[in-house]
């Protein structure tokens, strides 16, 4: 096979929709190694956007750049811009903690705190100093319902969250993420550690949450991307290869590499 030739780095899906996150010519280096190359994409409000691509192509890196979780990493260098509703995330005036309050995040591995189920859910409220019991209780119920976990745990809200199964823990993390009233929900392979039944539940959940939240989900399960997302971005070796409407991407990809990846020729 010939060396891959890279085409245009971004395709903009259906114009006219409101943009939530705007990524502009974003480059990122871990020390000397560049992990993201000129990524540019607009994420639309209220849609589920899937990031797909082979392992190590920079999906998680891109996701972490969006809520500046990358700040924890040494020798990280970026250039370009990411804007959330017009605010420059890497601008000098940005309040990073405030930014993270606007973006909930669900990690690849479920990471509930070693506290009670209820405390896990209301953690974002606790951080904000909320002491109103009624509000806390309402939040627990509503967020757990939103995460389709309420029926399973309503009798044991005071129990330690570590006693839950993996799938339940992940849904608890989603409940925690939505309890903080975010605008954007970032999910990094939320189902990779789960069994098929739990995965199905989470997928259902993502579908229900759509509309209220802008959701960006990293996955390397093509079927999942096809099932839950409206838009899909395909990344390869740190570049955004193709970005567009999910149905179109899976039926009629423009780029040859997208085609190869989707049909399982590599990855």
């Amino acid at each position: 096979m010939n060396a891959p030739t890279f085409g245009p780095t971004s395709y903009h899906p259906t114009k006219g929709e409101r943009t939530s996150l705007e990524i502009k010519d974003f480059n990122l280096w871990y020390g000397a190694a560049q992990a993201l190359f000129d990524v540019a994409m607009d994420v639309q409000v209220g849609m589920v956007t899937a990031l797909i691509g082979p392992s190590g192509c920079g999906k998680s890196t891109l996701l972490r750049s969006m809520n500046r979780m990358n700040d924890l990493i040494d020798n990280l260098r970026i250039n370009g811009a990411i804007r959330l509703e017009g605010d420059d995330i890497y601008g000098p005036a940005i309040d990073v903690i405030g930014l993270r309050k606007r973006m909930g995040m669900v990690f690849q591995k479920p990471n509930p705190f070693p506290m009670s189920i209820a405390e896990n859910v209301v953690y974002p409220l606790r951080v904000d100093g909320v002491t109103d019991r009624a509000l806390l209780e309402q939040t627990v119920e509503r967020s757990l319902k939103a995460a389709a976990l309420w029926d399973e745990v309503k009798g044991r809200l005071k129990e330690n969250a570590l006693g839950l199964s993996g799938g339940q823990q992940q849904r608890l993390c989603i409940a925690r993420a939505v309890a903080g009233d975010p605008e954007v929900l970032l999910m990094d392979e939320p189902c990779s550690a789960l069994d098929p039944i739990a995965t199905a539940k989470i997928e259902e959940l993502i579908d229900e949450l759509r509309g209220n939240y802008t959701i960006i989900i990293v996955t390397h399960n093509m079927q999942q991307a096809a099932r839950v997302s409206q838009n899909t971005a395909f990344m390869y070796l740190g570049r955004l290869i193709e970005y567009g409407d999910t149905k179109r991407m899976f039926t009629n990809p423009i780029e040859a590499r997208t085609q190869d990846y989707i049909t399982g020729r590599f990855g």
Partner: protein, 871 residues
């Protein structure tokens, strides 16, 4: 097989032997054995130390043991028995009889030896008194005269070659020439023991013809000016106290004796007088009546002896049968017709209404014997004594520990005539009127220690009430060691508490800082540096604390106190100022400049404390901290205001926060960083003022209610004090607490930190809400291990703590810890002595304390580890 394999496409160039080599297996087995043996050895060593300590300590609680008992039926002696005594080695017992005859008996065999008859000029002894510790004795006669003298056994060592010829064999070890006993010590040496009496000329005391019925005799004063005091009671119940002072002219060697005499006030009431006693200084006289009353006379002024009090010392309907002193001639033992034996002390008690402000109090109530008490024999070494009842049963007891050490002759049915406790407390001898002589070789090595005397309050002679006291030795021979471990355990706890109060906040703050807030490259430098602090020998820390820190703290005490307030305040102020900076500058100066800024703040905080100390001292401590703290100057109110300030501030800020509801806060949030900061600052200032007002009001209310912050934790200042120990020991334990706590916090999985930060928590919120709760067991274990270290710490407390075994929470006073006590007193303790065993008990207590602390810490750590696996 190989063919098949070689035919396959192999993914490696290596053909692996599928059998473990013998060398590997042997090494594995050997390592297994070595590790097992090593582990077992460690466990055995620890258990061995424990068992050893226990085994050394157990004799403290076992009372006495009987080595052998002998009973001889001898010829009935002529005349009543006055006293019986034995020599140091229990080979010879001598009984003194009223006729002036004496009876010497070889104790191991019951052989009666020749012994001198005291020449009394045909008189009969009517009263006899011998001091407890010395050979001095006095006898009174029917004609009203008294004679003094010395009575006792004499022992000399002689060489085998100097043995007189024609000795009669008594037993394997002993021979006699008929009078003296020659006891073989070893092949070369013999001990010659004889009995001797010296009697001085008679002195007329009572009117002629009035028999002396009771006599008590004390020898005191110095070698140059010996004084003899004696109390006599004649047939007319007249008590007379006589003091004879002899002066020896150093040049001429001439002795001049002056006699002073006083008749005690006549006693009202009736009742046969059982005994009359006089204290060592002859300043108190006790007269005991059969009806149980004891009359106490004050004879400090011999010109005017006074009757101070009359108290009944036995229960209703119980007759007083015998009375006697214990060694030291202060404590009175009273025996009753119901077999009761009680010890009374003369103690200060203004409420008693006596003219000298003292009264007799029951100090120790001992177990009752089954028949009336007939005789008391006090030990010449300690507060042990023997009591014989009417049936001849003899109990060996101890006053301070109030316990019965031995019960001897339980089957006896005949009354004793005299009993004696041998000089070394290792034998009891008793004679009957029938001539029977009984002897018990006993062993009561540690009569004074019981769990009660070691861990409970004990009433010692000369103390107004029971107390926890540690005082193991003094210059005086008659001194009773006071061996309560409570002040020492208290000292250990006190030192530990104050050290941890200082160390824990610093160590934990440092652990949070390096595990959560700094770049790991900083951590890589700071952590080993902190750990290196642990390698500073504690003796060096103690040395510095005692010789440098203690004087500095003493001279700059106000500044030191101020530092504890000023430093945190200036750090808070600095943090506040920092977050006022525009974000861009804050970001730019985030690294080294921020660090430098912190140091500048620290140093200026210290300098400020130093500069402001005089003013601070003037406002809060009446200008002089040390006289303020011991209560001689100033009032407690200003300092109380200072103490209540944080509480007032909290209350005020809660109020302010409630007043400024959400809407207000939202508006503030929209103002932008710098201006929002200013508004915040204003709020804060407002809260501070409100808090100060609250504190002021509270302080007034408290002081009006009579509460003063002084007394208790803050009290009289001494140079070597717990505050200094706390600082020095704090430095010793900070590294260990820091390291373990830091490890625990660093071990909190990164994904929890990430989860918290992603939820919009600040790093500080993440630390306090997620990291610390998750690592809490590790942090707790760190504190426990630090505590274990502080409990066992020795050199710092030896050097800087003043070594005063007192029960007092005062930070500015000293203490004596268990460990320091062992180090300080070990050189003085004779192997096998009570003190030595007590030190081992202290060691055991220390061992148990640190063992328990470390075990708890380890259990918590294991639980923590198990939970960490779950995360």
């Amino acid at each position: 097989m190989t063919e098949i394999r070689s035919g396959r496409a192999r993914a490696t160039a290596y053909v692996r032997p599928k059998q473990t080599s013998r060398a590997v297996r042997y090494a594995d087995k050997a390592a297994d054995i070595v590790v097992t043996v090593g582990g077992l050895f460690v466990i055995l060593a620890v258990a061995g130390i424990m068992i050893f300590l226990v085994q050394v300590v157990v004799p403290l609680f076992t009372g006495g043991s009987l080595n052998e008992s002998r009973e001889y039926t001898l010829q009935r002696p002529e005349g009543a028995s006055l006293a019986i005594l034995t020599d140091d080695t229990n080979v010879l017992a001598v009984e003194v009889l009223a006729s002036g005859k004496t009876r010497a008996v070889h104790l191991p065999t019951g052989t009666v030896l020749a012994s001198p008859t005291i020449d009394l000029g045909g008189q009969k002894i009517t009263a006899f008194s011998k001091s407890i510790r010395s050979d001095d004795f006095a006898v009174g006669f029917a004609d009203g005269t008294v004679r003094f003298g010395q009575i006792g056994t004499r022992s000399t060592l002689i060489k085998a070659s100097d043995l007189p010829p024609n000795l009669v064999r008594l037993n394997d070890l002993d021979q006699t020439d008929g009078e003296a006993v020659f006891h073989r010590r070893d092949a070369e040496q013999f001990q010659r023991t004889t009995f001797s009496v010296i009697l001085n000329e008679p002195q007329a005391v009572a009117p002629a013809g009035r028999a002396i019925a009771q006599l008590d005799y004390r020898v005191g004063g110095t070698v140059e000016r010996p004084t003899r005091s004696f109390l006599t009671k004649d047939g007319d119940n007249v008590l007379r106290l006589t003091r004879a002072e002899t002066r020896v002219n150093l040049l001429t060697r001439r002795e001049t004796t002056t006699l002073e005499s006083a008749t005690l006030p006549a006693m009202s009431g009736s009742g046969t007088i059982i005994g009359a006693l006089m204290t060592a200084q002859a300043d108190q006289v006790y007269v005991a009546r059969e009806n149980g009353e004891v009359l106490r006379f004050d004879t400090r002024d011999l010109g005017v002896p006074k009757l101070i009090e009359t108290r009944r010392l036995t229960a209703d309907g119980v007759a007083l049968t015998t009375i006697g002193f214990l060694i030291g001639e202060q404590a009175i033992v009273v025996g009753g017709s119901d077999g009761s034996v009680n010890v009374f002390f003369r103690v200060e008690d203004a409420a008693a209404g006596t003219s000298d402000g003292h009264t007799l109090k029951l100090a120790h109530e001992l177990e009752r014997q089954r028949a009336p008490i007939r005789a008391i024999a006090a030990s010449a070494r300690n507060k042990a004594f023997a009591t014989a009842d009417a049936t001849g049963v003899i109990w060996v007891r101890h006053s301070t520990s109030a316990r019965v050490l031995m019960k001897l002759g339980e089957s006896s049915r005949t009354e004793v005539a005299s009993i004696g406790l041998s000089p070394r407390n290792d034998g009891v001898v008793a004679s009957d009127a029938s001539g029977r002589l009984r002897f018990w070789a006993i062993d009561i090595p540690h009569p004074e220690t019981t769990l009660q005397t070691i861990f409970g309050k004990v009433w010692y002679e000369g103390f107004p009430e029971p107390a926890f006291t540690w005082q193991s030795s003094s210059g005086n021979d008659e001194f009773e060691p006071k061996l309560s471990l409570v002040p020492l355990i208290f000292g250990t706890i006190k030192a530990t508490v104050y050290a941890l109060l200082f160390a824990v906040p610093i160590a934990l703050a440092a652990a949070i800082f390096t595990s959560q807030f700094v770049h790991h490259s900083v951590r890589a430098v700071v952590k080993p540096a902190m750990e290196m602090m642990a390698s500073l020998p504690s003796v060096v820390l103690g040395f510095i604390a005692a010789l440098i820190l203690a004087p500095i703290v003493e001279s700059f005490i106000a500044a030191v106190v101020l530092v504890f307030i000023a430093l945190p305040m200036s750090l808070f102020a600095a943090a506040y100022l920092w977050q006022l900076l525009p974000p861009a500058s804050a970001l730019r100066w985030d690294g080294l400049p921020k660090f430098m800024f912190m140091f500048v703040v620290l140093f200026s905080g210290c300098w400020l404390s130093y500069a402001a100390a005089p003013g601070f001292e003037a406002v809060f401590f009446a200008g002089d901290f040390r006289s303020w703290v011991n209560g001689t100057a100033g009032s407690g109110r200003p300092f109380l205001v200072l103490l209540l300030l944080p509480a007032g501030f909290l209350a005020a800020s809660a109020l302010v926060r409630r007043a400024l509801n959400g809407a207000m806060r939202d508006r503030v949030r929209q103002l932008g960083r710098t201006r929002a900061g200013l508004v915040d600052g204003l709020c804060w200032l407002l809260t501070l003022v409100a808090g100060a007002i609250v504190a002021f009001v509270l302080a007034y209310v408290f002081t009006a209610a009579g509460w003063d912050p002084r007394g208790g934790v803050l009290d009289t200042y001494v140079q070597r004090n717990t505050f200094v120990v706390g600082l020095a020991m704090g430095f010793a334990v900070i590294p260990i607490i820091y390291t373990i706590a830091e490890d625990a916090m660093s071990a909190v999985p990164e994904h929890l930190r990430a989860a918290s930060l992603a939820c919009g928590a600040s790093p500080w919120q993440t630390a306090t809400r997620v990291i610390i709760p998750t690592a809490v067991s590790g942090i707790f274990a760190a504190i426990m291990i630090g505590m274990g270290r502080a409990v066992g710490e020795t050199m710092i407390v030896v050097m800087a703590a003043g070594n005063t075994p007192i029960l007092d929470w005062n930070v500015f006073n000293g203490l004596r810890a268990l460990s320091a006590n062992i180090a300080v007193e070990l050189p003085e303790a004779v192997v096998g002595s009570t003190l030595c065993r007590m030190l081992f008990l202290a060691a055991l207590a220390l061992f148990v304390m640190t063992f328990v602390l470390n075990t708890i810490a380890e259990l918590i750590r294991q639980r923590f580890r198990r939970r960490a696996v779950q995360l």
